[in-house]
Each structure stands twice: as C-alpha cells, then as structure tokens.
C-alpha cells in the first residue's frame, strides 16, 4: 500500500478544567469553579460543563464495551504527552485538536459567561502546553457563539497564532441558528484573517433532542448529530452567509456524508419554488454546499461501494472532503476508511487524507 500523509481534521483533546484554571486571574470566581485554587468550589459549575453528555438514554461508551489503550478515555483528562501516542495509534502526520468541553456549548442557553471563560482559557492553555506546529499539532479556537462580540475578540487576539488553524462553532443548540446576522461579526473577522470556520455537531443536550422521549442513545445520537448540522446548513445557506463572506472557508464536521446530498436536494427543490425567500442567493443552495468542506467521520459504509462513490460525487468530490478521526470517541474512524475504498485512486485518497485539510487549515 502507498504511504500517505494523514491530517486528522478532528481529534478531541480532553482538557482538564483545573489546568485551564491556571490561566485565570486569582480574583476570577471561575478559577475555583474550574477546580483551581479559589473560594468557589468546582461543584458550583453544576452539570455543565463537567457532565456534558446525554445520560438518560444510555452510555456513550456502551456500558464499558468501548475501551481505549492510548488514553484514559472516557476519563476527563489528557496532557500534552498523550498527543504523540494518539498520533502514532492513528498514523497521523498532523492533527487538529478540538476542545472536548466546548461540546457542552449546545446546552448553554442564557449563560454566556462560562463559554467565554472556557474558550479563552482553553486557547491559552493549548497554545502554552499542547500545540506544536513543528510536530503537526494544531487546535481551533472554540467560538463562544453565545457572545459574538467576545468571540470576535478571541479570534482577533489568537487567530494569527501559528498553532491556531481554525475556529470551531458547535452546531447544537445555537438559537437563532447560525445564518442569523448576529453571527456576522464572527464570519467577518474569520474571513479577514483567513480562519476556517468549522461547524461541528455536538452531543451536549441530545437527551432533549427535538422531541423528548427517545429511549436509547442510538436513537438520539443517530438523529441529533444529523439534525444539528443540517439545521445550521439550512440557515447558513439560505441567509446568504457564503454571499456575504465569499472568501470564508466553511466546513461541517461529524455527521457522516450521506446527509449532505439529502439537504442539498431538498433545499434545491424548495428554492426553485421559493426563491423569493432567499433573495441573497445567486445560485442553487447545493452549489454553495459544494463549496463547503466536510469532515467524513463517522463515514457510512453501505453494502455497495458504488453508493458511497455517488454520494461523494454529489457532494463535490475528494476536494471537499477531509479525513477526521473524532478520536477518542466511541465511533472514531481510522484512515483505513479511505485507504480501503476501491473506487478512489491514490491521488484522491491523498486529497481526502490530508490535501483538503491542509488547504482548509493552512497547514
């Protein structure tokens, strides 16, 4: 087999809040709440962001069936020393680490302060302790979209750092959805600084997904991850974000690939009848979506390879796709999901495994 360069567009760093607390001033009450030396105790953080995932529908790690040798997952802590071990396990040349705790942003509605504190301390900690572009280790700024003004400050302050390769927006729970004009300042500075915006789905809040009453994690996870991304794509496209910010790099991550053509074709069908409701658009919604980038994980493997081949063609081909592991999560993908596809030639595999991500992230 040919040797490929591999860039992982999405691996998760399980940050320890008490380490992040070291980046807060002593008089900041969040220092104690994050487990650092302070009056307020960590318990005061409540269920968010300490316990961020659905619980009533079942165990994310299949009640102990999922195990990881390389890291303490499902524990809550990683250190910089874990990263080379993860990269060796997956065979990575570069990895883009994402905050684990930011996945909780889907559950934060009114409180826009802890998201800001997490985003800033995570970014400072990662730049100080973990990120190392010379070793291929990068991260994205967690965007606290609850407070766009503060998000802009963060992108302005840290966006030019070499180890920062993008900005990440968690797609679950954002109300109004992300095509709304209130987020425009975030897109504006990202476009100006050439920071790719990665819309990434998240599991926080999935227990209350759309309608309450689902009984198993397989139900809420199957639907919730799709719905989170699909809902933001519809808003971002129809409200004309790509028209307002034509040079903005936009990526969507972690809902697989098969939902993309569904959203494309449904939007097109509606658009041809209701173009009057999307006057900013100059072309079909699917044409904008073919200019977005997509993380492939968790990649569906249908019974016939030709089905997947057609899906990739509908999305716009290997130039739109980025290998993403989502390690260490329970449904992570290895690079073999691409290297083993018989319908991709070597250059197409290389494009998906690293080329597209290098372009998106400026690696």
């Amino acid at each position: 087999m040919a040797s490929f360069t591999v860039t992982d567009a999405d691996a998760h760093y399980l940050e320890d809040l008490s380490r992040l607390s070291e980046y807060l001033e002593d008089d900041n009450p969040w220092k104690g709440r994050f487990g650092g030396d302070g009056k307020d105790s960590r318990e005061d953080v409540g269920s968010v962001p300490v316990n961020i995932f659905p619980s009533s529908t079942g165990s994310r790690n299949l009640y102990g069936r999922i195990q990881r040798d390389e890291v303490s997952y499902p524990g809550e802590e990683m250190t910089a020393d874990d990263v080379p071990r993860i990269m060796a396990h997956l065979g990575l040349d570069n990895c883009v680490l994402l905050s684990q705790k930011m996945l909780t942003f889907a559950r934060l509605k009114a409180d826009d302060e802890r998201a800001n504190v997490l985003a800033k301390t995570y970014t400072e900690y990662m730049l100080d302790q973990v990120v190392d572009p010379d070793e291929g280790v990068y991260t994205m700024i967690p965007v606290p979209w609850q407070d766009p003004e503060y998000a802009v400050e963060l992108l302005d302050e840290y966006g030019d750092e070499r180890g920062i390769c993008g900005a990440c927006m968690i797609t679950g729970g954002a109300e109004p959805p992300m095509g709304n004009r209130k987020y425009d300042p975030i897109y504006e500075i990202a476009e100006k600084k050439d920071i790719a915006i990665n819309f990434h789905t998240g599991g926080g809040g999935l227990d209350e997904f759309h309608q309450k009453g689902y009984e198993k994690f397989i139900e809420t996870h199957t639907l919730g991850f799709l719905y989170n991304n699909a809902s933001q794509i519809v808003s971002v496209v129809i409200q004309g974000v790509p028209e307002k910010f034509p040079d903005l790099k936009i990526a969507f991550q972690e809902s697989g690939l098969f939902y993309v053509p569904t959203v494309m074709h449904r939007l097109d069908a509606e658009y041809l009848k209701r173009q009057s409701e999307a006057p900013l658009l100059e072309k079909r919604p699917s044409e904008y979506m073919k200019e977005f980038y997509y993380g492939i994980q968790p990649m569906e493997l249908p019974e016939k390879e030709e089905y997947l081949e057609q899906i990739i063609e509908m999305i716009g081909g290997p130039d739109r796709l980025m290998y993403a592991s989502d390690y260490p999560h329970w449904d992570y993908d290895r690079p073999s999901v691409i290297t083993e596809r018989p319908f991709l030639d070597e250059s197409e595999k290389q494009r998906i495994l690293s080329g597209t991500a290098e372009e998106v992230f400026g690696i």
Binding site: L62, W330, Y332
Partner: protein, 120 residues
Amino acid sequence: MSRTHVGSVDEFEHGDRTLTSVDGTSVGVFCVDDEFYALENECPHQGGPACSGRIGGEIVAEIPEPGKRKEERISDNLVVACPWHGWEFEIETGIHLGDDSICLEKFEVVVEDGEVYVTS
C-alpha cells in the same frame, strides 16, 4: 496443517479467554461451557482487536404483550465486544450480533490429552 498449543484445559473456566498467535495471525481462544472456540482477533470493521474486548452475555428482549414494557435481560449466550467501536460477535460462531453476513474467521480447536490446540 499446523497445531498451536494454547494451554491446558485445567487453566480455563467458563468465560475465560486467551490470545495466541497462529502462523502469525492473532487469535482469541475462548472457553464456553467446557468447549473451546478460536476466532481471529481482527475486527472486519476497522481492524480492531475484536477478541480482546469485554466478554458478556448477549442482551435479549421479550415483549410480554403489546403495550407492555419489553423485558431486557442478559442471556447465557457469550459474546465478545471489539473495544474500538463495540461490534459484538457470538463466541461460538464468530457471527456479528446485528448482521449474520459479518463474522470473525473461525479456527478449529482440538483438545488432546487435556491440552488445547488451535489448528490451521
């Protein structure tokens, strides 16, 4: 045909497992009700060490009657879960619990004079 010595029958109890190498292939050997089964330790999904994961009973469910809560229980049928992504395989057959077209390759096990061998 080659034979790989796995151990003595006495060393195994119901539900025990050991990993061995058969002609360079990693194989899991399991003891279920005094019988031995050997399966390739490579998951057909993404190549994880399927035989090294958690061993437990298959979860089954019965519906007493429509409208009643289904009764889930852990059955006696032992299965092993690949630790990478949770794919579960019946130990006696190597067949995936959710799709019987997917399976771990099965190896022949011979017990002779109280010693367990995998043949290939």
